[in-house]
């Protein structure tokens, strides 16, 4: 594993950690596809492997539709700041779920007069299927980067690699299908 300054990937993600347009900045990097083989964070256990699975909490009010699937705009972060997920190899379903519940509860306590947030669903996507989605020119559509955090080494970002606007809409629908719901609120893990 190599870190900055030898590793341009970790340098990029460190410099753009709080950039809400991180994905647009990534589009300016010609080597972005190859960067999945490098580590993206000094807190990561290593690059995300194809055989891994990633988990994502679906929050109300914005992320989950009536069938319990993520909505297209619920996945909008893939186009701007990166879509946050957790690597199942390093954080299991219960840990991710409980962290989501705690996060929503903390926000609600700080914002008692605002519409409350809640955890609705937990979704899982195979990394190889996510990476297999293709742009019109047959280039890889989404990258999965190991953007581990100091307090959560399992963190990974899914980023749209294509700049084609119409393809972007279609690809988000495809990505939506790869994130299968594995738990819904008030029901046990399946």
């Amino acid at each position: 594993m190599s870190f900055a300054p030898d590793n341009p990937c970790v340098a990029f993600f460190d410099a753009n950690r709080d950039n809400k347009d991180k994905v647009k900045a990534l589009h300016k990097v010609p080597e972005r596809h190859g960067w999945e083989k490098l580590t993206a964070s000094m807190f990561s256990p290593g690059p995300v492997q194809d055989e891994e699975q990633i988990l994502r909490i679906g929050y109300a009010p914005n992320m989950v539709d009536a069938d319990g699937k993520l909505t297209p705009l619920g996945l909008q972060d893939v186009m701007n700041k990166g879509f946050s997920t957790d690597r199942r190899s390093y954080a299991d379903e219960a840990e991710v779920w409980n962290r989501g519940v705690a996060s929503a509860a903390a926000w609600n306590e700080l914002n008692p007069l605002k519409p409350q947030r809640s955890v609705k669903t937990l979704h899982m996507a195979p990394v190889d299927q996510t990476r297999a989605l293709r742009c019109p020119a047959d280039a890889q559509a989404f990258g999965v980067y190991d953007t581990g955090l100091e307090k959560n080494s399992a963190h990974a970002d899914v980023c749209l690699l294509s700049e084609d606007k119409a393809a972007r809409h279609q690809l988000v629908f495809d990505l939506r299908d790869t994130f299968v719901p594995v738990k819904v609120a008030d029901e046990p893990l399946s």
């Binding site: 069938d67 619920g74 909008q76 119409a166 299908d177 819904v184």
Partner: protein, 186 residues
Amino acid sequence: MINGTYRLAGASATATASLGVLCASLAGGWTPPDRRAERLAPDLYLKTTWASSWDTSQTPLAAQPSPERHTALHAALDEYASLSEGWDGDGAPAPSEMQIRTARALLSALPREIPSPRPMIGSSGTIGFFWDDGGRIGDLEIEADGTFAIFTGKKGSMADRALIESLRLDASGADVMGAQLARLFA
């Protein structure tokens, strides 16, 4: 209002009526008939449906006549309108009044022949609606300034996709929306 360019078979009268409703929506807003039922609807759907694909012909929304079939969608827009900055826990902007008004007007302008969409909101503050019946896909995205874009396509076929952006809430914008959706669901 439509200048004869609307090409959805048998729908010109519907389109004219829809645009009338669109103008009424812009002027005076929209009042749902039973707010308590609307508030219950999304949770009920979440607990009672759990399918890998969505068949619009089986949904309660599609089964209801217009405008009642959009009741749950207006309820979702009510919820979006109540959001304030940071509603996603990470600084998301609240939807603008213009976005909410545009969304309501577009719902009113949807031809009856088009299945009811589903509501959505993104972390950038974009709101919209989408369709996904497992093969045909489409979305309407409404920006803070009230302009909107429509995308239609088919899963597994990049060749069939179409995206029209920067549309405005006038007769031609509604025309484009209706024509694109008519093509999708023909």
